[in-house]
Amino acid sequence: MQSTPPATASRDDGSVDPAQGREVSGELALALYEQMVVARLLDERVIALQRTGRVVQHSSALGEEAAIVGAAAALGDEDWVFTGAREVAAALWRGMPLVAYAHHVYGTTLDAACGRNAPDPPFWKAARVASVSPLVGTQIPHAVGVAWAARLRKRDVAVLVYFGDGATSSGDFHAGLNFAGVTRAPVIALCRNNGWAASTPASRQTGSGGFAAKAVAYGLRGVTVDGGDVLSVLRVVREARGRAAAGEGGTLVEAVTEPLREGEVSAPSERDPLERMRRHLEARGLWGAEYAGRLSAEVAADVDAALAEAAAAEVPGRDTLFDDVYAELPWHLREQRERLRAAAAGAGT
């Protein structure tokens, strides 16, 4: 019961219409594809590490890469991004190095978060990718707050915030988008509707039918897009970015995705967003066997090198626990640090 059919540039075979796509340069089209390939391989590798127990927790994006990368690609450098747990590729797209993410996965001394968080999501300050907790929905008001502040400061800065269909039930989805509507904050709220919140289907998440329809409740624009079609996502989010720049306020984008189960990855389906983009590139003459071979070798080398480097790195030392609770170490933490040192010394560790 979508209010409007999802925006899509896909043809019947699922591939993205090359005519449609010509508004996107060949260079950008390839970059989008390559980012999705990186994301896919990274997910596969980390999932494998998770199976061995070497990595404890990972939120993969298998089959949802187009929604994530397409949205990120619509932003400018000054814009901010708040991810949910699965939008690692958005941070990578904006320039977070692969190896930095690998350090996050292993929680090493070189992790920007000092190994303090379980993996996902990472953050990357240089690219305005914010620190987000795994608590579902809490980042939405933060994103609105940044956008609102930028608007108060009269800067053309927009904020993209990702979340899942499950997150729309959270109180903070409501609070955030309601504030966005009232303040006309330039926010783009991207709901990745993959049909499920853990084991709970979207039909038990809301009685509304579609998620874009919820925009009405806040006076935001709502739009549904085919989340397997990277170019359509890019276009829709670019439009939303344009509205933000024009002072027309926020947009709720529902990107409908079809996540792949882990077993499905090796046998790509017609609906796989990578395959769809591949066929688009092929139709534009941008894809060939040689390119494909070179790309997958390069990507594998990069990803494996990053993960290997991080796997060999050290975990942070005991004392680092006490830093950054406050700007300066107060007396009680100084004492607790001393006591911990003494106990460790006593235990011979």
Partner: protein
């Protein structure tokens, strides 16, 4: 049986016995919850008694209050205790105060279940122990079992208790703590602690997963001449003050172990209660070995937790003061 199985058994038995009992929460249905505590209940009782809810903890507790007002006995699950805070207002402002503010006319008895504690590499947001923030609020009972027998018996008692109970399940020992569990119906009374190790030199108060660390430390301490009495609180509030004070009057020394941050944790309350009541018996400063006053870490969680190697020197220090 392990803890997961014992809790599951308690839920199943009570749902069979009492048609008013319903289970609700995120993913508690077909898949049986993240830790599989509700596994099989959906098959047996159907989706009108084992209910997958939208992703809103405030909605889960808020609607459960309504269900309880209507006469059902909800047993909501919060997937991790770390996610209970969106429902904090519904719990402390509504659930805890309903009986009192309505002069006893309206009540909303329920048991809120939530896995607590660290040790499974969950990091900041999958490891916390929030008991103190609920004990501070009048009107709630708080329970935390350390073994399968108590888990089943306490949960049955909690579901039959007329007051709202928070039932915190130490996830680190969900499967590791095993023991005999009677098949049939029995209860472990809310409000009664258990002396799990008799001793004469130092009273050690612990609960949940850290009980085992306290016991391990006590085993080592005895070799160094300190004979600990270890008490498993089981019910955190209202705490079994008699058992505690009796023990401290005997040992003259007390040490509290808990995972939650040290400052304003339950340890402070226990030490204050003991100081108020057994002051003349105290022969050493009361001691705490707790989680740190930092968020709960990922890579360094074994540094954060008050494990035996941190408890032992504190026992010795207390014993030899």
């Amino acid at each position: 049986m392990n803890m997961v199985e014992a809790i599951n058994d308690a839920l199943r038995q009570e749902m069979r016995r009492d048609g008013r009992v319903v289970v609700l929460g995120e993913d508690v249905g077909k898949v049986g919850g993240v830790f599989r505590v509700t596994q099989g209940l959906w098959d047996e009782f159907g989706d009108e008694r084992v209910i997958d809810t939208p992703l809103s903890e405030s909605g889960i507790i808020g609607t459960a209050i309504g269900m309880a007002l209507y006469g059902l006995v909800p047993v909501p699950e919060i997937q991790f205790a770390d996610f209970i805070y969106p429902a904090y207002d519904q719990i402390v402002s509504e659930l805890a105060k309903l009986r009192w503010r309505s002069g006893g006319e309206y009540t909303a008895k329920m048991v809120v279940r939530a896995p607590v504690g660290g040790g499974i590499r969950g990091g900041l947001y999958h490891s916390q122990s929030p008991e103190a923030s609920f004990i501070h609020v009048a009107g709630l009972k708080v329970v935390c079992p350390s073994n399968p027998y108590d888990a089943k018996g306490l949960l049955l008692a909690a579901i039959r208790d007329p007051d709202p109970v928070l039932f915190f399940e130490p996830k680190r020992i969900y499967r590791a703590a095993r023991g005999e569990v009677p098949e049939g119906d029995y209860t472990v009374p809310v409000g009664k602690a258990a002396v799990v190790r008799a001793g004469k030199d130092v009273t050690v108060l612990a609960w949940g997963a850290m009980l085992y660390e306290a016991l391990a430390a006590a085993d080592q301490a005895v070799k160094q001449g300190a004979d600990c009495e270890v008490i498993d609180l089981r019910t955190l509030w209202p705490v079994d003050i008699e058992t505690i004070v009796e023990s401290v009057e005997k040992t003259g020394r007390v040490l509290v172990v808990h995972e939650a941050p040290r400052t304003c944790g339950l340890g402070a309350e226990l030490i204050t209660l003991v100081s108020e009541r057994a002051f003349v018996h105290l022969q050493a400063p009361p001691a705490r070995v707790c989680g740190l006053d930092t968020p709960f870490p990922y890579a360094l969680e074994m540094e954060y937790l008050p494990l035996a190697h941190r408890i032992l020197p504190a026992i010795i220090e207390t014993a030899t003061f």
